[in-house]
Symmetry: D3
Subunit: 224 residues, 6 copies
């Protein structure tokens, strides 16, 4: 199978052993899968954006700072799999496609201002006609409202993009156009190319193979 795994930048915020992710990817590759990994920026991204604001950078430049930190996280992960991963982090989708053609794991940070790493991972998944896009986040999966704000939010094992859109619209700010989880651009790509999205949490990294076999609970978003 062709898999795109997107991991939250928060993964890189805590000290301690990060090999759980490289090991998970190694074992997916050994089972015959092809894998692309997309990394977020996390706390270091926020730190640099704060420094950037103190220097009066414009929004595009602030986004670029965040992208560069996400690329640093991507580079760290690429270096941790020297035999498996392409050693360079692509800086655009076209470059991603070139590296992907080498048959190796390609690790991506961000591409361009104005889009979330969720959108980046959807673009990557579309470009390689991925079987699944797996989003590893800080919550267990998709809920009927934000579980961080509402302790009674209900976990949804299966949800269509239409349902998800109305959940996000009713619980997050429409105006901003920057929903968490899946922003409008990611949503558009997922729908137009009918990408199957799985949402799960950081503590399930070691169980991705089981999730793909349906032996472990996670949310699945179905494009409609």
């Amino acid at each position: 199978m062709k898999l795109v795994i997107k991991v939250t930048g928060k993964f890189f915020d805590s000290p301690g052993d990060k090999s759980v992710l490289s090991n998970a990817i190694k074992s997916l590759v050994e089972s015959g899968n092809k894998v692309a990994l997309v990394t977020g920026g996390g706390q270091t991204a926020r730190w640099y954006i704060t420094l950037g604001r103190s220097l009066n950078l414009n929004e595009a430049s602030l986004d670029l700072l965040g992208i560069w930190v996400a690329r640093l996280n991507a580079f760290l992960m690429a270096m941790s799999m020297p035999d498996l991963a392409y050693s360079k982090v692509p800086e655009s989708l076209e470059q991603f496609l070139e590296y992907w053609g080498h048959g190796k794991v390609v690790v991506v940070g961000g591409f361009q201002p104005g889009q979330s790493t969720a959108a980046v991972s959807a673009l990557v998944a579309e470009a390689i006609s991925a079987d699944y896009l797996i989003m590893i986040t800080t919550v267990e999966g998709v809920f009927d409202s934000d579980p961080k704000k509402n302790p009674n939010a209900k976990f949804l094992p299966k949800v269509t993009t239409t349902e998800l859109r109305s959940i996000l619209e009713s619980t997050q700010s429409i105006r901003a156009g920057t929903y968490e989880l899946l922003d409008p651009m990611a949503m558009k790509i997922v729908e137009r190319s009918r990408i199957k999205v799985i949402v799960t949490s950081l503590d399930k990294i070691g169980k991705l193979a089981r999730i793909l076999k349906g032996e472990e609970i996670a949310s699945i978003i179905e494009p409609v």
Copy 2:
């Protein structure tokens, strides 16, 4: 002033003299403005996308074909201003910024799948903190409904992004997420960086300086 001019790909569909655009840019530059130009793909883009569909390309690849035609149009315009323009067409916003630093006119086609050339021009305008983004399209400006479908559509000399969003939502398909004129990504950038957008038509290319001075009617979109 710093200006971003976005010209519809339809400009390149008809035979005949294309120097009206290079001349307009030359004269804006001679009056002390700095100019970036963004070109659409037009009919040639549609032709290649048709060929691509016959070859079963995925959505990302079809978008890339369209982007490459837009870049071809951009290259044509760059070659037409050998002393004024940077000779290469940037393939990402970061590359655009590098070329822009040379103090020359930079001509852009597209950057990446999943976004319109309107979004590209908004990203460019944000990155250089442009004074105006001028969109040269096939209609006179913004109307209260699509003038191509509704002959009674009313011309709007001034409109806020909030008003425009509700016009587009009520007259175009929400679901698609691919509104004409300004798609959601372009809208988000325009709003977050408060970019002033002017909409005018192809037959006003020779009068851009007058439009900027307010001596010629065109629509202005105000970010709120």
Copy 3:
């Protein structure tokens, strides 16, 4: 075997299914051949050159426009073979050699002003020590005069470069230095590296394997 296939830009002028060419290449690769493909520019190239002339571009820039359209055709074909072909179109022979080293099909448009795509394909064939350069054109093969102008032209199944040179010199303009079929640069490369050239027509694309086995009639040019 190592094969270079050069296809006339006219292949991209007509609507309809272009998969005959990608399928032919796939099957040649599956039979153990290594393939490089060179594409011409066709009618779109001529269209852009016309636009360029209206903008007073010099000869070098006009050639670059044609080259960029040939590269667009090359990109289309590369995208149509995502598992087989290198995703990027090389812009020089040195870049071609780098991509070729990946063991994939490499699709080339043009390299530089002042040379035909026939010359490009000869350069590529020389650089990889190709077994055959197959030129797919709009006529059945080599004739004793231009078959488009002379309905009585005689088909030549075998011809030496010396014989071909005298045919072209006597039936085309010497002065121009831009013979059709094989220009002087292509001729020089073919001769100095003793490249075997096969000339056949678009309707034989599905029969390339048979042509290589000598089971189908086509012209062969022998370097002397």
Copy 4:
């Protein structure tokens, strides 16, 4: 004058306004100087190197992580001077020379494993035949022993490279080959190209022009 300014990575560790450095550079440029800036990695570099060790990266990869953080700091500073600085951070000395030829401020992080940012700044100073290399560090200048370890260390307003070598050898570990302040590679470059080095501290950033005029105390290292 041509100046290379090297600032310790610790400058980026603390929150708060970083514009003191960009302002200092702006004012040096306005007075007619040409400036290259080299940034260290600081605490973020150390954090990523810690993560890298947990992933068993080799020494070369760990150095590359540190270099990428230094480049991130460089990128932040380049973005803070959009009109003055080249927008890209060079990744090798040859790339630095290409960017430097644009007449702009060029901001450098690191070039390659196995060398300190002091060595990088010496290489840069040599390549542009700089008048001065100014090292902005956490101490006031050069002392007769490490002022961080010895509170009685004596400040040295002037010191030759020969004297400094013997101070560093007697107070730091020879074996390691990684002296602080100036490592052997930096020392070799400084001596062979007779580069004049000024050492001063972070709180003097606003007074660089005065230091260059000799109106402010700082240490000067003279190559012999």
Copy 5:
């Protein structure tokens, strides 16, 4: 004026001061001209081609070795004019155009196998619409036969391309397609873009300005 100067590779074969050439270029630039310089390969090129033959390289690779030596000569000249010249040597005409846009002297070695440095210089001259292409060679100018073989060869102050073609064809081997002085590709470019070519010898390098004013004898080739 825009000038392309092509200097024979033999210039780099002898020891001694090479500054005569950089000085000549500096003074042309100071008088308001824009200059591109093209360098040949000389004896070092021949040495590497000999080594390459002993390793059984094909013709394309042997040409690439010669090109790389010509680029080395170009790099030497670029380094000798650090304030005037672009620091990188372009590897294709498109790269040349990008560097040329910087308003600096650009120094070129070679572009691609199968063409002489005379052809490279003609391509460069065409691309920038040069006023003159000055070829600095080992003989005084154009003669009615090869002056190295025929001591009675008559010097020709003025010659058309048509005349020169018949001189070269009658005194050099037609078959080879590799005439000295101007090969067929160079000739084609010179004619189609009507480039004025001046031929002079190494000992006139210090007098280029005088030659351009017609105060010093040299041959001029007129395109017809």
Copy 6:
């Protein structure tokens, strides 16, 4: 095994067949080893440095000339192994790592001013976690003093880096910081990453496999 082979630039100074080196590498690769090759500059490097001095180039530029000649030697070797080697010569360690990921022989000239090719080969060996760094030089191995100056120098089959450092310090100039054989930077890398170094001479190129099996005498340097 992973092997880095560094060959003295003097290998390219003499005429005659250079295939002994490509053949040795081919046979090592066929036995299952992965090989990187680093080439010195030799006499041609010295010739260009002499020309450069006559043009008053600074030390950085002179080093770059030497690096470019070493890269030319590297290119020659890469071209001599078209099926085995990556066709491009990397210009930095990061580029080396990218090419190395292709599973091919990568041939390196130099990376940057201020370091010997011995340092380059140590950096490469560290980056790929090589099993051995084999230095092919003009002498049989390591001696207790420079064998070129002292005919009674004693051959040392085994030596620690500590012992070698004291031999080099006592027999070469400390000040220069540019010991032959292993300079301080190479020494630092070898020690920090505990790289095993073998030193042997040009006439043993055909016997590298035997040396690695311990069947042929050579010096081995052990990092401590």
